[in-house]
């Protein structure tokens, strides 16, 4: 095979002529710029890239990408994208969704896309609020959230999107933050390279209805002590002075945060995104507290499993192998199959 030709695309090539209409200051701008800036790296012709979204603020995303795109209906983007990806394995198909779109109305499609391991890159913009409908609580809002629809506080517990994705057998699970372009692009890169479903949660600030939701992970005063930056093959330590670490206490099921100074180096967990058992990534996903302390970002899990698209296409290819009849001849044979009789 010859080396692919360098397309020499730039971020500008991925900007559509449409005026971007998110609220000024919305975290979506940063994500859009990061995606547009990252796309040329893939060296995929624009015509082979498709963005499919559902409904919500984030779902306006496809209009701003100068690729093929579909702004579909609430919650259904993974289903529509599955049909496209299975029938057109030559395309690079991206799903853009939000916490309401993916986890509330579209929860069923999300888990089944992940279970099937459809070759989709799913970007979930999580702002923990319904923005487009003007400020109701979402399935990732913290319990007790006071909003227009919950004046005395929400009564239901939230989903942890990564735990959910892992429970649905996702083969690639990652988290990143809208404001950290470098990290965001590194996660996108890993997602794009993954064969199968890649699920990326992006913490995104809604400055109108849920401003500052992720501030402890962004403020210089707190972020280093709150964020756990996962790096494959590296011991998991964090904090300004690496004063914290993650260990797997004997006898326990999960992971815990300890002080590095009081922990023998051999007990610190070395991050391995390729662990076959999803329990490890699940334990990572359970580390953060309600105050966002101990929030891991980066690639939690990246394992190999046959994608649905590929398996389906292989079945079709196997069925077609060795067929020497034209489709018309095959059809004629099919129509006259079984018990027939002829009247002269």
């Amino acid at each position: 095979m010859s080396e692919p030709v360098a397309l020499k695309l730039t971020a500008k090539d991925f900007k559509s002529d449409q005026e971007v209409r998110w609220c000024p200051g919305c975290g979506d701008y940063a994500i859009l710029a990061a995606v547009q800036g990252f796309m040329p790296e893939l060296n995929i012709p624009r015509e082979n890239v498709v963005f499919i979204s559902g409904i919500g603020c984030s779902s306006r995303f496809p209009y701003y990408m100068n690729t093929y795109g579909m702004h579909s209906i609430h919650g259904r983007a993974p289903a529509i994208a599955t049909g496209l990806s299975v029938s057109r394995p030559d395309l690079s198909v991206w799903v853009v969704t939000g916490d309401g779109d993916a986890l509330s109305i579209g929860g069923n499609h999300l888990i089944h896309a992940l279970r099937r391991n459809v070759n989709l890159k799913i970007l979930l913009f999580n702002n923990r609020i319904y923005g487009l409908t003007k400020g109701q609580y979402s399935p990732t809002s913290e319990i007790g959230k006071v909003t227009k629809s919950t004046p005395v506080g929400s009564a239901d517990a939230p989903f942890n999107p990564l735990s959910l994705a892992l429970g649905a057998e996702a083969t690639f699970v990652a988290r990143t933050i809208d404001s950290d372009r470098k990290h965001l692009q590194s996660v996108l890169r890993a997602a794009a390279e993954h064969q199968g479903s890649a699920f990326v949660e992006i913490y995104q600030n809604c400055n109108i209805f849920n401003d500052g939701a992720f501030d402890p992970l962004k403020e210089p005063a707190t972020r280093d002590d709150f964020l756990i930056r996962l790096e494959h093959g590296q011991p998991i330590t964090f904090g300004k002075d690496d004063q914290f670490c993650v260990v797997h206490p004997p006898g326990g099921f999960g992971l815990e945060v300890r002080e590095t100074a009081a922990t023998p180096a051999g007990e610190i967990v070395v991050h391995d995104a390729g662990v076959a058992d999803p329990a490890y990534a699940f334990a990572l996903s359970r580390l953060p507290g309600l105050d966002l302390r101990n929030t891991p970002i980066g690639v939690f899990r990246s394992v190999t499993r046959s994608s649905y698209d590929r398996a389906v296409q292989e079945q079709v290819a196997a069925a077609k192998a060795g067929v020497d009849q034209t489709p018309e001849q095959q059809l004629a044979g099919l129509l006259s199959a079984g018990d027939t009789w002829t009247i002269l």
């Binding site: 449409q18 702004h71 579909s72 496209l84 499609h109 489709p327 095959q330 099919l334």
Partner: protein, 615 residues
């Protein structure tokens, strides 16, 4: 003993038994033998939704009716001439449908006190005079089958289960059927277990020989082949024909067929059938729900496949939002609704045509789609091709309204030449269509079809975004402009309304009818049979049948106004009649029945006779 041979022009046989007695298979085999002989055929299976209702109970009764004749017939027959009752429940459940004088073949082995009690018989109807008006043939089917298989190395259970082949052998003898196809079938079915092939063949022969030797059956019947158009035929159910129609649409369009489906009675057989045709590039996906099924189909259409989803009424309800999206996106999509009795779960294995309103109007906003209905099992093939033709040519969702009656019923199908099937090839957009030569306008329409370009991902230079938000004419950009929305709504309506569809044809052999019977979908057979009945009695009546329900044929108004009265029989509470009254201001008579069963020709004939009297 020499048997008398009597010629008949038509016979209706109903095989009835417990769900586990294999009556569908028995009926199917008898039908196949009958097809080989060249009779015209029409069949009607009738089975419970429960896979195995408690044995021997009325809800567990499954039946298969076959009508065959030496002339062309239109229905599976109103009433059986022969009932095969494998147990007391089968007798009780079907007796009311039998005309006096009909033959009843009963399996006496099952008429035990316990089985009689299960269905509320205090005494055996075989021992009192309750069956006096019928010709009863008591046959110890089970014990004779077990006896015939005494030398065979099969379990008692397997021997007992072969009793349906004994019954089939007996009936095949009675009606002089060629049985080679059944022997071949048994060899195929039990290929892995030769002892079962031998046992079932032996049971079949025992039944045949029993007919030949017993004095209880003194008459053997013959029904000569029907005069049918020359050609090669096969017997086919509606679901099978519809599946092949979709496969054919893929071949004739050169596009891969993508089926997204969720299992639902009575549509699942289409998913089963299409999943076998990967060789022809057909991809089937069993989705997580009805919504995902249509979503995936739409996604595949967006990518250049012929997207199809198959379901029944409750599934269409779930798909409605996505169908509306397809209306807005103006992409091809075929939605097959194999209607069943509703609302809600209703009677999943019983027929009805009460989804017409939903097909025509069941979406939010002004969201018109094309609607087509097949009139018979074999017609499902051509209706599926027509649905695909409209979807591909006019880039629109098309609802194909089958129903349980045509889906599971069968009839002989004159096999078409592949070359004679419509050419469905489409052209994807390949270059910018703007005046400047570089811009692509995804909503610039073909002036003739009003279809927008189908620009599939992967086409360089045509990158564009589409979505559910209202789009500006030509550019497809998001638009909230009032005048644009008004224009787009009217254009979407016009797109459907101006699809050219064939004129409706009127059958009025006498030429002087004053009453027109208008039908749609699966009522074609019973209406046609009723009209024939009236004509044979010297009465004039005209029949017209709608295949296209949206848009309706251009000549329909003129046709309707040419008659003094228009009668519309429907298996719903008058859904087509409402449309006809509203659209054409014709004071149509709506005749309705919603019993989960097709009309009988006799009841329609009686009803129409009343109408004729009052014209």
């Amino acid at each position: 003993m020499t048997k008398q041979i009597r010629q008949l022009d038509r016979v209706v046989i109903r095989f009835a038994g417990d769900s586990g007695d294999g009556m569908q298979l028995t009926g199917d085999r008898f039908t196949s033998e009958t097809a080989q002989l060249g009779n015209d055929i029409s069949t009607l299976p009738n089975f419970p939704a429960e896979i195995r209702a408690p044995a021997g109970t009325l809800p567990g009764v499954s039946s298969f009716q076959v009508h065959f004749a030496d002339y062309d017939i239109l229905t599976p027959g109103d009433a059986p001439n022969v009932l095969v009752a494998m147990n007391p429940a089968a007798l009780k459940a079907n007796l009311t449908d039998l005309p006096r004088g009909a033959d009843i073949i009963v399996n006496t082995d099952e008429f035990t006190r316990r089985n009689l009690a299960k269905v509320g018989y205090a005494t055996s109807p075989l021992d009192d005079d309750s069956l006096a008006g019928y010709v009863v043939h008591p046959v110890a089917l089970t014990s004779m089958t077990i006896g015939a298989l005494a030398e065979h190395e099969v379990s008692k259970k397997d021997a007992e289960r072969a009793k349906n082949m004994f019954a089939l052998g007996l009936l095949s003898w009675m009606y002089s059927r060629p049985y080679e196809s059944t022997l071949r079938f048994l060899e195929r079915k039990f290929a892995a277990r030769p002892e079962l092939v031998a046992a079932n063949v032996a049971a079949f022969r025992a039944g045949w020989n029993f007919g030949e030797t017993t004095e209880d059956f003194s008459v053997r019947y013959e029904v000569k082949p029907a005069k049918m158009l020359p050609g090669t035929y096969r017997n086919i159910t509606g679901n099978a024909a519809l599946s092949l129609g979709l496969v054919a649409a893929g071949v004739r369009s050169g596009l891969p067929v993508f089926l997204g489906a969720y299992p639902i009675t009575p549509a699942s057989d289409i998913l089963h059938e299409l999943s076998k045709h990967k060789k022809l590039g057909v991809v089937t996906m069993q989705a997580e729900d009805e919504i995902a099924a249509v979503g995936a189909a739409l996604g595949a259409s967006y990518g250049g496949s012929l997207g199809v989803t198959t379901t029944s009424g409750p599934g269409v309800a779930l798909k409605s939002e996505t169908i509306s999206l397809a209306v807005a996106l103006e992409l091809p999509l075929v939605i097959v609704d194999v209607q069943r009795a509703g609302p809600s779960t209703g009677m999943p294995t019983k027929t009805e045509q009460a989804d017409l309103n939903m097909a025509l109007y069941g979406r939010h906003g002004e969201a018109p789609v094309a609607v087509i209905a097949p009139k018979s099992p074999a017609d499902c093939f051509h209706a599926a091709l027509e649905a695909a033709r409209i979807a591909l040519t006019y880039r629109t969702p098309v609802l194909l309204l089958s129903d349980n009656y045509v889906a599971n019923g069968s009839e002989p199908w004159l096999l078409p030449d592949v070359e004679s099937l419509p050419d469905l090839r489409v052209e994807f957009a390949s270059r910018p269509n703007g005046e400047d030569g570089t811009t692509f306008l995804p909503y610039l329409r073909d002036p003739e079809t009003l279809a927008r370009p189908w620009a599939i991902p992967g086409t360089p230079g045509l990158e564009h975004r589409i979505g559910g938000l209202e789009k500006a004419d030509k550019t497809g950009d998001i638009s909230y402009d009032p005048a644009n929305h008004d224009f787009m709504v009217r254009t979407r309506a016009a797109r459907i309304e101006t699809i050219p569809v064939p004129d409706v044809e009127v059958e009025d052999p006498d030429g002087d009818a004053r009453v027109l019977v208008l039908g749609w979908g699966s009522t074609y057979g019973p209406i046609g049979a009723a009209c024939r009945g009236l004509r044979q009695r010297g009465l004039s009546v005209a029949q017209a049948h709608l295949r296209h329900l949206a848009p309706m044929p251009a000549n329909l108004g003129e046709v309707l106004r040419a008659y003094d009265r228009v009668v519309i029989p429907e298996m719903n509470l008058g859904q087509l009649a409402h449309v006809i009254r509203a659209k054409y201001l014709v004071d149509a008579i709506s005749y309705n029945q919603v019993r989960g069963l097709p009309f009988t020709a006799a009841e329609l004939e009686t009803m129409l006779e009343e109408v004729l009297k009052n014209v």
